[in-house]
């Protein structure tokens, strides 16, 4: 009795056979994998873009710090605008773990580009007195010119916030603006200050200058303070009483970084609608793959019969068609990953964000592709394997 060696199909050969099956039908392969590619690309881009914008927000948050609190005077019980005590800056600076305090005080004055402009056209620009430490405390940056010094703070000089400078049409230091009925020289212009947007709309005058030239009473409207991050909450709880021992409830304390942190959190939660669209594209892609495989099995009955005659087991035939299906959807998946990543890079670069395509998105995409490929290929593969060799060979 001659020994029979069982049929064997090596993994490498399975891959070759699967690839060969796809190579013969290139157009169809391209079309069938397109749906998968679009689906994966959409999902990867959605996740990538939201992760990148989140990474950007988190990076900015990191730069700006989350340890700044602002104190606003708020309103009196009678509904009037309250004022903070003159010594509040000094009082807050005495709180342990507070390392920087600054203040702004609202002024009645308005600022204009020239002395010919009607008084009511303020352009929404507020005039505020600012303490020297303001810039550092809010982590602001001077775009052009300079910030106040002890000396310039008492002269008729002004530093413009980003928006204020644009509304006034004054962007260079050295220019003169009409402020509170006299000429002030522009000392500098600031970049936008994400943690204190009010400053963007303000024309800032030195604290001493405001007192001397604009009859400022020296009461801060808003305090900005930074403390060691661990003690932010502790500081927060003592601030109202420190600032306004008589009426602590009039005082509003807030943490501007909270808004940014909330935005970062929502940026990370991606648009479900777009993800859903991606999922639909994937589903359609999966149906496309299944359809292609079913057609392929019908067309290749003779090939299947021949393979059975050559010694392929049912399992080998099943494996071959499953491999083809997996390669087909894998092809779409890889193309989709590449496309989605490119879209993410394009978006991130054009917005100045760091590019971030999370590994889990790539892994998830590939996993989805494997699942789709197997599910789509299973039925055709089983059908191919069930085909009787004689019937398959007899097909004209």
């Amino acid at each position: 009795m001659t020994a029979v060696t069982p049929s064997r199909l090596m993994a490498r050969d399975l891959l070759r056979v699967g690839l060969a099956g796809l190579r013969v039908r290139r157009t169809r392969v391209a079309l069938a994998s397109l749906g998968i590619a679009i689906g994966i690309a959409t999902m990867v881009a959605v996740v990538g873009i939201s992760s990148s914008s989140q990474a950007d927000l988190l990076r900015r948050l990191d730069e700006l710090g989350t340890n700044m609190l602002t104190v606003k005077a708020g309103q009196t019980l009678q509904g009037e605008d309250a004022k903070l005590p003159e010594q509040s800056v000094a009082m807050v600076s005495r709180i342990e773990s507070v390392y920087a305090v600054a203040a702004t005080g609202d002024l009645e004055a308005s600022v204009y580009r020239t002395d010919r402009i009607p008084a009511d056209r303020t352009g929404g620009i507020s005039v505020r007195a600012a303490t020297l430490g303001l810039l550092e405390t809010v982590q602001g940056r001077v775009r052009t010119g300079s910030w106040f010094t002890t000396a310039s703070a008492s002269f008729p000089t002004v530093v413009l916030g980003d928006l204020a400078s644009r509304r006034l049409g004054v962007t260079a230091p050295g220019a003169q603006v009409w402020l509170g009925g006299r000429w002030f020289t522009v000392l500098g212009v600031l970049d936008p200050v994400p943690l204190a947007p009010g400053i963007d709309r303000a024309a800032l005058v030195g604290w001493e200058g405001a007192r001397d030239l604009l009859s400022f009473d020296g009461h801060p409207t808003m305090l900005y303070e930074r403390s060691t991050p661990e003690y932010v909450e502790a500081v927060r709880s003592v601030l109202p009483r420190t600032v306004n021992p008589e009426y602590p409830e009039e005082v509003t304390v807030s943490r501007p970084s909270d808004a940014l942190a909330a935005r970062a959190a929502t940026a990370g939660a991606f648009t479900n609608l777009l993800l859903g669209l991606g999922a639909v594209a994937l589903l359609v892609g999966g149906v496309g793959v299944a359809n292609t495989m079913v057609v392929s099995v019908l067309e290749r009955r003779r090939e299947i019969g021949l393979r059975r005659a050559l010694g392929a087991t049912r399992g080998h035939i099943r494996a071959q068609f499953l491999a083809e299906s997996l390669l087909l959807s894998g092809l779409g998946g890889v193309a989709g990953l590449a496309l989605g990543t490119l879209v993410t890079i394009g978006y991130a670069v054009s917005n100045g964000f760091p590019t971030l395509v999370p590994l889990w998105a790539i892994g998830g995409g590939l996993g989805a592709v494997v699942v789709i490929g197997s599910v789509a290929g299973l039925y055709p593969a089983v059908r191919a394997a069930r085909l009787s060799p004689t019937v398959a060979l007899g097909t004209a």
């Binding site: 029979v4 059975r308 005659a309 392929a312 049912r314």
Partner: protein, 226 residues
């Protein structure tokens, strides 16, 4: 001598109720060149399917090289085909766009032999069928006779115990048919056991043994000294 193929009272009735084989007994011994002849629909192809374990009989026994196939699962039937049986069909069943060499190498795809070794043996097999110069040609670049010779090379590349050919010249003009027949005779002369199903007298006459089938039965079995 033990037969390579032994059929014992093999009956094959198709689902529609067609009795394609009605009790066939047949032994094929090593080294034989056997022609199976008979009118269309007499059951020749069905007989080949039984001998090639491509299908199971409704009743009776099929024994290939001592293995009673009645008890074997699909996996082992496939193993039997991969290691002992070679097939040539009327249609060549070559993979389009694939070189002659790789078409032949695929004859051993399920034998667990690495690709380089399969290609080496494929080149030898193509040499044997006179296509040593055509290794890189793809099917559409070959004549019908050449394509069928590639198919023969694919069937013999793994040195089967028996080669089955179902109307191997049926799709060919007489010149190409003679070419293929010549190749089969050479293989037989080298020791390959061959069973050919044919309608053609020249082919049948070339065989040392003629088995006639009619209505699902063997009506004559003649050994002619060559």
């Amino acid at each position: 001598m033990t037969p390579i193929v032994r059929l014992e009272n093999v009956v094959k009735t198709y689902d529609g109720g067609v009795a394609a084989l009605r009790g066939v007994d047949l032994d094929i011994f090593p080294g034989e060149l056997l022609a199976i002849v008979g009118p269309s629909g007499s059951g020749k192809s069905t007989l080949l399917h039984m001998m090639g374990v491509l299908d199971r009989p409704t009743s009776g026994r099929v024994i290939i090289a001592g293995h009673d196939i009645g008890r074997l699962p699909d996996r082992e039937l496939s193993g039997l085909r991969a290691s002992l049986l070679g097939f040539v069909f009327q249609q060549f069943h070559l993979a389009a766009g694939v070189s002659a060499l790789d078409n032949v190498a695929d004859g051993m795809l399920y034998s667990g032999v690495p690709l380089s070794e399969r290609r080496r043996r494929a080149a030898l097999a193509l040499e044997r069928v006179g296509l040593g110069e055509r290794l890189t040609h793809r099917p559409h670049e070959l004549s019908g006779g050449e394509q069928q010779r590639v198919a023969v090379a694919r069937a013999v590349v793994r040195e089967p115990a028996i080669l089955y050919a179902d109307e191997p010249t049926g799709n060919l003009d007489s010149a190409s048919g003679a070419e293929v027949l010549g190749v089969l005779r050479t293989l037989h002369a080298d020791g390959t056991t061959i069973a050919i199903i044919t309608h053609e007298h020249e082919v049948a006459a070339a065989a040392g043994r003629q088995v006639s089938v009619r209505d699902g039965r063997i009506v004559s079995d003649v050994r002619s000294p060559l």
